[in-house]
């Protein structure tokens, strides 16, 4: 991967630096910590936060209404019992995967370019998993009985139905959330100590002091920190693959046409990383501009992420092709009808939009000019986010709305409350994200410092 983003000048390959030139330990620490400590609450931040917070209040409203009236306020009607709630669940949880991939797998593979983006990608993971986790709970109808999903000693003498993939989901998602949160927090500790030491106000000193858990930066601390990070990375690595595999089992274990296929686990994982990187780009591009972080989150980062998107997008395209081929090759009338229905049925417009968003438009990333153009990259990232949402809609709704018995077919339409719930989770996500960029260092100071150290050591050799 080191040759990634390299420039070929007169036949000699010279790696493009990961971060901008002229950075020392002091400038890196100052630049990142000053956003939190001295940047203050800017009007732009307040404006964005207020929009996010009002959407969060919309979520509050919908959830309250849902508790009072039940899931009937959503458009879910038999045969489409899984509507927006499951579409959004899969979409949000998929988005989280990029954060884990960046922080865990790329750490183990010693990909240095990850250091500038891993912190907010991990934060994105945690907030996305929170949004995702809400949907199955709300979809249960009686969310206050969510603890029935957990195996705990109870007076009913009942375990959850371990044969059901929905129970596997509970374990997959809760493990994912716990490990991601721990990983994120452990990574934050030295940076929180930096903030504690640089903070001027008493309250900030105390809060960052408590959060940094007595970090003094001794050699023992660093050694344990490295061990803990590696262990957590090792724990998180299988989760990148396992979580979305289990999510895909929610479908594949069912016998509905279009769900019962073996391609789902790999193609779901690829799709998750695809949408996750798209979301990282969607977030990174405005943030680096607004906070002037162009020399930390460089063009090389954006270009590498675009390449990951292109690669995973091709895997997803392969998945779509195999899906269509298998429907034909199986000779099964229901499977064939499912595919025909995608192309000709009431939701055909969405299917063609999906192909355009996920397969056709991202092919522009083959061009170096597109990869290096910020507006184009931002546009493609939004397109991919939309496309991946459409993919889940196509899978969930088209298959369910027309299954084996034509007499039970019905067209599913979301209600305004479906849209409000979906928008509301954006409120939750962005409220948390705004708080995160305001109160925590959004780029890992420690890791970028070590990058500065290594690049300055490398210089005499090159």
């Amino acid at each position: 991967m080191d040759s990634e983003g390299s420039r070929n000048i007169a036949g000699v390959t010279e790696p493009e630096p990961i971060i901008g030139p002229g950075h020392t330990f002091e400038t890196v620490t100052d630049k990142i910590s000053s956003i939190v400590l001295r940047g203050g609450t800017t009007p732009g931040w307040v404006f964005g936060f207020l929009i996010a917070f009002s959407l969060l209040m919309l979520l509050n409203l919908v959830v309250t209404l849902l508790m009072i009236k039940g899931v009937g306020i959503w458009g879910i009607r038999v045969p489409t019992a899984w509507g927006f709630a499951i579409v959004n669940f899969v979409w949000w949880i998929g988005i989280g995967h990029a954060g884990t991939l960046i922080s865990a797998i790329l750490l183990l593979l010693h990909q240095k370019w990850r250091t500038s983006i891993n912190r907010f990608a991990e934060a994105m993971t945690i907030f996305a998993v929170m949004c995702a986790g809400m949907f199955p709970l709300l979809h249960m109808g009686r969310p206050w009985l969510f603890f029935y999903l957990m195996p705990y000693p109870n007076p009913m003498w009942m375990w959850p139905q371990f044969r059901s993939p929905l129970v596997w989901d509970v374990f997959a998602v809760s493990t994912y959330f716990t490990v991601s949160l721990l990983f994120w927090f452990v990574g934050l500790i030295p940076d929180l100590a930096t903030l504690r030491d640089r903070a001027k106000s008493k309250a900030a000193k105390i809060i960052y002091g408590m959060l940094s858990m007595g970090w003094r930066g001794s050699a023992v601390h660093w050694s344990r920190y490295e061990t803990a990070s590696l262990l957590l990375a090792g724990l998180a690595t299988p989760l990148v693959v396992s979580v979305h595999t289990v999510v895909s089992f929610d479908f594949t274990i069912g016998i509905i046409p279009g769900w019962h296929t073996t391609i789902f686990p790999p193609y779901f994982v690829a799709g998750a990383i695809y949408s996750g990187f798209a979301m990282v780009l969607t977030l990174a591009i405005p943030i680096r501009k607004y906070y002037h972080l162009e020399d930390l989150v460089t063009m090389r980062h954006l270009e590498t992420m675009a390449k990951v998107m292109l690669a995973t997008g091709l895997i997803v395209a392969y998945g779509y092709a195999i899906e269509a081929f298998m429907a034909y090759y199986s000779g099964d009338a229901n499977e064939r009808y499912m595919m025909w229905n995608r192309i000709h049925g009431p939701y055909r417009g969405l299917y063609f939009m999906l192909i355009a968003c996920n397969i056709v438009i991202p092919q522009s990333l083959w061009s170096r000019r597109v990869r290096r153009s910020i507006p184009m990259l931002f546009f493609v990232s939004l397109v991919v986010n939309t496309g991946m949402w459409l993919e889940r809609f196509v899978i969930v709704v088209i298959s369910l709305s027309r299954d084996f018995i034509p007499s039970s077919w019905a067209v599913y339409l979301p209600t305004k409350w479906d849209w409000a719930t979906y928008l509301g989770t954006f409120g939750l996500f962005f409220t948390l994200f705004y708080l995160f960029i305001r109160f925590l260092p959004m780029i890992s100071i420690v890791e970028v410092r070590s990058l500065v150290h290594e690049t300055s050591e490398e210089k005499p050799h090159s």
Binding site: M156, W157, I206, M213
Partner: protein
């Protein structure tokens, strides 16, 4: 640079880490203890009735058969709460002037029901049938406890699903000979012998240990 925290913070933070584990464990245990307590389940809590009817006196000391009052227990899902007429079969002749029995006589005179307080009531989402249990060798006292020793009647079990499943999962530990079903003083043999007898009876009575959700939640 001055210290932000006092030295004692080291101790506080260590204690709070281990303390959190202990507190969460203790909270979990407390919730479980509350859920299993008579305060929550009404198990072994005596109910006040319009007339202080004593099963100890009637079923125990006098030896009246359960079915004399609970007539439908062998034929119906519901064992039946006796009408006032059943009381009056005896009490029109004995204790006719007892002030304690005035509500019974009033009920008979006015043709109104006595408002007995239900002691064992299953929720509406549970289907339960007395007749099948009684005819497969499940004794009254297996579920209702030592009724013949209760002055005021109380609930003997928690009525939790675990309480039902305890028998449904291992009927051989509880089943008795059909002739002993209505014996209020039945004592089950020692554990080993009960198991031997139970296995024989399970086979003989063709007891199927149904545990599907839809057995009770129809």
């Amino acid at each position: 640079m001055s210290q932000i925290f006092h030295r004692s913070t080291n101790l506080v933070s260590r204690v709070s880490i281990y303390g959190a584990v202990l507190i969460i464990g203790a909270l979990g245990y407390a919730l479980y203890a509350i859920a299993m307590s008579p305060w929550y389940t009404d198990q072994n809590v005596k109910r006040q009735q319009p007339v202080p009817f004593s099963h100890r006196h009637h079923a125990g000391e006098l030896g009246i058969d359960c079915r004399y009052c609970h007539t439908s227990v062998e034929k119906s899902s519901f064992a039946g709460v006796p009408p006032t007429q059943t009381c009056m079969t005896c009490h029109s002749q004995i204790w006719t002037n007892s002030s304690m029995l005035e509500p019974v006589r009033a009920s008979y005179r006015d043709d109104t029901s006595l408002p007995w307080v239900r002691v064992n009531a299953l929720p509406d989402f549970v289907y339960f049938d007395h007749s099948i249990h009684v005819s497969k060798g499940v004794g009254c006292t297996t579920c209702h406890g030592q009724v013949a020793e209760m002055a005021l009647t109380e609930r003997a079990g928690t009525l939790y699903m675990s309480w039902c499943l305890n028998c449904h999962r291992q009927p051989e530990k509880f089943v008795r000979d059909k002739s002993e079903v209505f014996n209020p003083y039945y004592e089950s043999p020692s554990a080993a012998k009960q198991l031997e007898l139970g296995r024989k009876l399970v086979k003989e009575y063709k007891i199927q240990s149904y545990q599907h959700c839809s057995t009770c939640h129809r």
